[in-house]
Structure formats: structure tokens, C-alpha cells
């Protein structure tokens, strides 16, 4: 009996600790379907209807994801502020990343080519330096050190 009571208390505490979904939580992730602005800044009549729809679902105890699914069911996928990560909408997530990767690859290839063609001919290790010039250079460097 005590174990059962303890379990019930634990369940109650867990439920109380879980943050409840609120209207602003959902509002900033969906759009006003008619005016194409974020719902949390829209004052259009359809936006009022969408907010009422969300409030009704919150009163039924739905989670944020369940409410967003219900909104898509009623108004279509365009109600979401960000595209879904499935089906054709996945391209909206994949294509920008792929373009950035391609651009980075292009820049690195160009940089490598540029470095290969614009460097000083014959290298810079001084191996081809004339012995007289080498002596004069050493003398100049020694004078700098003094």
C-alpha cells in the first residue's frame, strides 16, 4: 500500500514538474495563413481564429507538437513558420547546407590554386643565393643584431 502511495505521489510530482505548453510557445512557431507573418505579431481576423484554435487545443491538454499537427490538418503545411523535416520540405533544410558546403569547397580549391600560382619562383630557402651575396647578407644581419 505504501509503495503504491509513493508511486502515485511520484507520478503527481513528475506531472507537476513538466512545463505546460502555453499560447506564446506555439504562437511563435506558426504563421498567420492569410497575411504570411508570424502569428504572434499578426492582428488579422484569421490570426484571431488561429489563436482561438490553439487555446481550445491547449484546454484539451494537447502538447505543442500535437497542436501544430492539428493546425496543419486545418490550415495546411503553410501554417508552420519553418518547413517540416520530411518529404519535399526536407529540401529547404538540405539545399542551403549543401550550397554552403559547395561554396566552401570552391573557395578552398580556388585558394589552393591561387597559392600554387602566385608564390615566388624557385622557393624562398635561399639555396640559390650567390656566395658573395650570402656573405653580404650575413654581414647585414649581424649589423642589425648589434
Amino acid at each position: 500500500m505504501r509503495v503504491l502511495l509513493a508511486l502515485a505521489l511520484l507520478l503527481l510530482l513528475t506531472a507537476a514538474a513538466e512545463p505546460k505548453t502555453t499560447l506564446p510557445d506555439v504562437e511563435d512557431e506558426v504563421m498567420c495563413v492569410e497575411c504570411r507573418t508570424a502569428l504572434n505579431i499578426s492582428q488579422a481576423p484569421v490570426a484571431d481564429q488561429e489563436r482561438a484554435f490553439i487555446r481550445d487545443r491547449l484546454a484539451e491538454g494537447m502538447t505543442k507538437d500535437e497542436i501544430k499537427d492539428a493546425l496543419v490538418e486545418e490550415y495546411g503545411p503553410a501554417v508552420l513558420a519553418v518547413p517540416e523535416r520530411k518529404g519535399f520540405d526536407l529540401t529547404a533544410w538540405v539545399v542551403p547546407g549543401a550550397l554552403v558546403a559547395l561554396a566552401a569547397l570552391g573557395v578552398s580549391l580556388l585558394a589552393r590554386r591561387w597559392r600554387g600560382t602566385s608564390g615566388p619562383a624557385g622557393g624562398d630557402d635561399g639555396a640559390d643565393l650567390d656566395p658573395d651575396d650570402a656573405r653580404r647578407l650575413d654581414a647585414d644581419l649581424a649589423a642589425f643584431d648589434r
Binding site: 495563413v33 492569410e34 481576423p45 484569421v46 484571431d48 481564429q49 488561429e50 482561438a52 484554435f53 486545418e74 490550415y75 495546411g76 503545411p77 503553410a78
Partner: protein
């Protein structure tokens, strides 16, 4: 600029400009239907299967071939749509015996709110749900309400962007009802 680089860069820039031009041009409303009707032409009405509002299954304009259809695009959250609903219902009742009807297209609307709205206004003409406004885009809808008069051959004969009134119906609907297939 080196010749090897010149053409790819020029072509890429031209493609970008074309894409931007298309993007800007495609944002504006499509007025080709308005222009055709102004010139006295009739345009084939788009047909699309849409879910029925308040019952199961789908329906489309094609089901009503041979009838004059007053196709009204509405939403329960749209105040002018509310005010023209009684006139549409009266029109539906009046033209039923003359092979005419009103067909509603409920757009971007919560179905429970739409049904409550129809009950409140005692509307009996059928409506289809255009959830994503895809059909509305085919019709060139730019606001609510909008009304399209479809002749017995399924062609758009007149349109009103905004609320209708009896005078507009008398001018455009009456001649259509007199036409036979």
C-alpha cells in the same frame, strides 16, 4: 577578367537576375482572368477535387456540369463574407428551380468554426474546403469574399472581387440562367 571565367560568371549573374525578376513578378496578383472577362471572353473554370465541408468525401465543380453555379469563396473569419451570406442563400433558393445553385469554397478556415458559422446563418447550399488556398490560387483569388459566375458549359462568365449585391446578380446572373446548354 580572363575569358575562361567571364562566361560562367556572366551566365550565373544573368540567371540570378532572371530568378529575382520571376520572384518579384510572381508575387503580384494574376489579373489575366479579369482582363479576359473585360474583353467579353469566357474562361474555362479550374476544376479540383476538394473535401466536402461537413461531410465525408470530395466534390468539385465538375459534379454540377449543366448548371449555372454561383461559386463563392468565403471564410468564417471574414466580416464581409458574413454580411453577404443571407443574399447568397436567398439566391440559392431562388435559382434552384432554374438549374442554378450556389457552391461555397471555404478557404483557410477551421472546419468547426466554419460549420458553426453556417449553422448560425442557416446556410443550406453546399461548400467545399480549400484548406491551403490552392484552388483559390487557380482562380486568382486575392481577397475575401470573391464570387465567380460559372455558365452551363463550366466557363467563368463574370466575377466580383469583394461582396456581391442584388444589382450585380441581376446584371450578370439573370442572362446566364436564360442560356441553355
Amino acid at each position: 577578367m580572363r575569358p575562361r571565367v567571364y562566361w560562367p560568371v556572366t551566365l550565373a549573374a544573368a540567371a540570378l537576375v532572371a530568378l529575382l525578376t520571376y520572384g518579384v513578378a510572381s508575387v503580384g496578383p494574376d489579373t489575366s482572368l479579369d482582363e479576359a472577362l473585360r474583353d467579353g471572353e469566357r474562361v474555362e473554370a479550374p476544376v479540383k477535387d476538394l473535401p466536402r465541408l461537413g461531410s465525408s468525401g470530395t466534390g468539385s465543380l465538375a459534379e454540377h456540369a449543366g448548371k449555372v453555379v454561383v461559386l463563392n469563396v468565403w471564410a468564417s473569419w471574414c466580416p464581409p463574407c458574413k454580411s453577404e451570406m443571407p443574399l447568397l442563400q436567398r439566391t440559392h433558393d431562388r435559382i434552384a428551380a432554374r438549374d442554378g445553385m450556389v457552391l461555397g469554397i471555404d478557404t483557410q478556415d477551421a472546419s468547426d468554426k466554419a460549420l458553426a458559422f453556417l449553422r448560425e446563418k442557416r446556410i443550406t447550399f453546399p461548400s467545399l474546403r480549400d484548406r491551403d488556398r490552392e484552388y483559390g490560387r487557380d482562380l486568382g483569388v486575392s481577397g475575401y469574399p470573391e464570387t465567380f459566375l460559372i455558365d452551363r458549359q463550366g466557363r467563368i462568365a463574370a466575377l466580383r472581387r469583394g461582396p456581391i449585391d442584388q444589382a450585380w446578380l441581376d446584371e450578370h446572373l439573370e442572362p446566364l440562367l436564360k442560356e441553355r446548354t
